[in-house]
Amino acid sequence: MTRKLLTGNGAAAWGARLARADYIPAFPITPQTEIIEALSLWVDNNEMDARMVTLESEHSMITAAGSAASSGVRVFTATSSQGLLYAMEMLYTVAGWRVPFVLVNVSRGLAAPITLESDHNDIMAARDSGFLQIHSATCQEVCDSILMAYRLAEHQHVRMPAIVNLDGFYLSFTREPVALPDPEQAAKFVGEYDPENLQFRGKAPLSQAMAVLGGGPYSYFRYEAHLAVQQALEVYEQIASEFNEIFGRRYDMIDSYQMEDAEYVIVMFGSFATKARDAVDSLRAAGWKVGLARIRLFRPLPAEQIRALLTGRRAVAVIDQNISMGMGGVLHSEITSTLYGVKNAPPVVASYIGGLGGRDISQQEFFQMIEEIKTASDKGTSLPTRLLYTQNEMTEMRKLQAIAHVEHEEINQK
């Protein structure tokens, strides 16, 4: 299979093209805009048979996406960060409509203060919306995941929208070798969209704006949606096997690396996980039994698989590139709740917050996290949540605060 160099954004556009999306509602935002630029060029050149419409906001864009999906066409759209948040009301709404489509989110930290660079708080904000979530770590995976996401979302047992996430800058603007699936094979894999009874027409009315009071009907619809998202766990395996058979690339719900005999495990998601792979290699070369479990499918959460992978390990370091104010790392709390009461659960599950707003995580930091969890496990102690933040960063911060004229005396006392 020939490969070409593509950015994460380029790979996302190809995913939409290969899935033969019919309708693309769009609104630009950094670092996502390249995706819709690429698509608009193809649509303009008749290289892609789709209708593309620019909306006046992300709120309308998601409404248009959900509405179009209700009419029985395949829909693709993309956003990032503030755009995703602006659309949040409609994310919950269209998920409630039970309409399948694929939304690519290019992760970027949230205001305030504002940034352009990557972290996962935007995508975490969509965690409870009903959208399925697949997190990619490479440009190849971005393209492949979009094809898989259509299969998952459109499956008759699921019929929910799906988000494929990629990190801003670290993937969006970074070129890597990508083996583009053959268009015929991709079309065959994704298949025709069978909208079942989602065929809104003038002559076939469909109302999705119903109100339900009293709680009983509401609870029914909401819990059915939850069960539908969980159905994706059942169908995922088959879709992943089929993908592997056709394209020769295997994507598990959790991407395990050197896990077989691992005593110490890093758990995380996103593109920084490839850096963790290097760290695992270096640590293994230094005699450490270290492994990496990268969560790819985050909604539904593959709880069984997480338990199977982590029980019996000596210690786990969960790295979150997000923070739930007043709680800590979102992934950490989900991993620990998954492991609660499980026999042979690892005695140490430490929480590290790092990579906020594009802040890098160095190899030395990966090494040090493993060192810390090993020490805690040897001593039988636990570890407090740690923000990956160095003295040097604090010194630079103090310089900025001095310029901003924050309370000088207080800073100087510290």
Binding site: L5, R175, K275, Q364, Q368
Partner: protein
């Protein structure tokens, strides 16, 4: 793994340079990663792009902190801390500077452990934002220095990346780029790959226990006025507007009003002053001045004159 960083100004083609070199490595059978790094800057502002290439898949991501090769398209960036040209360079780094000056001058000036090489700057260049073909030249020089990219592979990569611009532009780029490739041949192979960081013996990060601070300190608010003064956007300038006060009619308002950055102030005597710390060199004032009393000279020339003035 080869780790290569290109430094230049917005508009000089550093992203293009990284893509040409990335494609050349890729065609040569390497696994590749290339990316530009920029924020909200514009033409003339310092930017950089980078390339990683290895025989096995590239897992490393983000800014290259320890480069094997640093290519500088614009030598005025070398001494500019904000540009970060010298960041992380050590005795294994090759520093290639596009410059009129020679290697020993730079080696002395920088007192750097890196090996300094010079890509001889073209004499005919005026506006450094338009250093013609400098991206292609830098990519070609870098390709030659690695010693693993044959000349015809580089040519093919350049054609692949610039083909959409048309044959004429491709040919012009090729001519100057291949000349740079040939000029670097004597140093072919001087850039070497460096290994993964070992976990056996590493410097532990100096993490701090993160302190709680009251909102008076920790809210992201700026209480000082006019902090934008601290951002020396004059560093982005490639052409400098210079006022000829003999021609200036003292109109009081045209240049200062049109200046989009508020970098021109009118003195009490009715004559304008340009704040070169913040003038970005857009030259709107040059176009607007009714008696044509503002002319544009290259920043390179202006700085040469200033140095000469300071020495007399």
């Amino acid at each position: 793994m080869f780790r290569i960083r290109f430094h230049g100004r917005g508009g000089q083609g550093m992203k293009t340079a990284s893509r040409i070199l990335g494609t050349a490595f890729f065609m040569q059978g390497y696994e590749v990663q290339d990316a530009p790094r920029y924020g909200a800057e514009r033409r003339g502002a310092p930017i950089f792009a980078y390339v990683r290439a290895d025989k096995s898949p590239v897992n490393e991501r983000g800014i290259i902190s320890h480069p094997d090769l640093v290519v500088v398209a614009d030598d005025t960036l070398v001494g500019m801390p904000a540009a970060g040209v010298l960041q992380g360079i050590d005795e294994n780094t090759v520093l290639l500077i596009n410059s009129h000056e020679d290697a020993s001058t730079w080696q002395q000036r920088l007192n750097t452990p890196a090996t300094v090489l010079i890509l001889h700057a073209r004499e005919d260049v005026e506006d450094r934002a338009e250093l013609p073909y400098v991206g292609s030249r830098c990519a070609a020089a870098a390709a030659a220095l690695t010693g693993v990219i044959p000349r015809d592979t580089f040519e093919q990569a350049l054609r692949e990346e610039l083909g959409h611009l048309g044959e004429k532009i491709v040919e012009k780029n090729l001519t100057v780029a291949l000349a740079a490739y040939d000029a670097m041949q004597e140093h072919a192979g001087s850039v070497t790959e460096s290994a993964l960081l070992s976990a056996k013996d590493y410097l532990a990060p100096d993490w701090i226990d993160f302190p709680f601070e009251d909102a008076t300190v920790s809210a992201p608010a700026i209480h000082a006025g006019a902090t934008s003064i601290e951002v020396r956007t004059g560093l982005w300038r490639t052409m400098r507007p210079v006022i000829n006060y003999e021609k200036c009619s003292g109109c009081w308002w045209v240049c200062s009003t049109y200046c989009p950055d508020g970098a021109i102030r009118v003195r009490d005597d009715g004559k304008p002053d340009i704040d070169y710390d913040h003038c970005k060199g857009c030259l709107v004032c040059v176009a607007q001045c009714p008696p044509h009393a503002i002319e544009a000279i290259t920043e390179h020339e202006a700085q040469k004159q200033e140095t000469a003035g300071a020495n007399t």
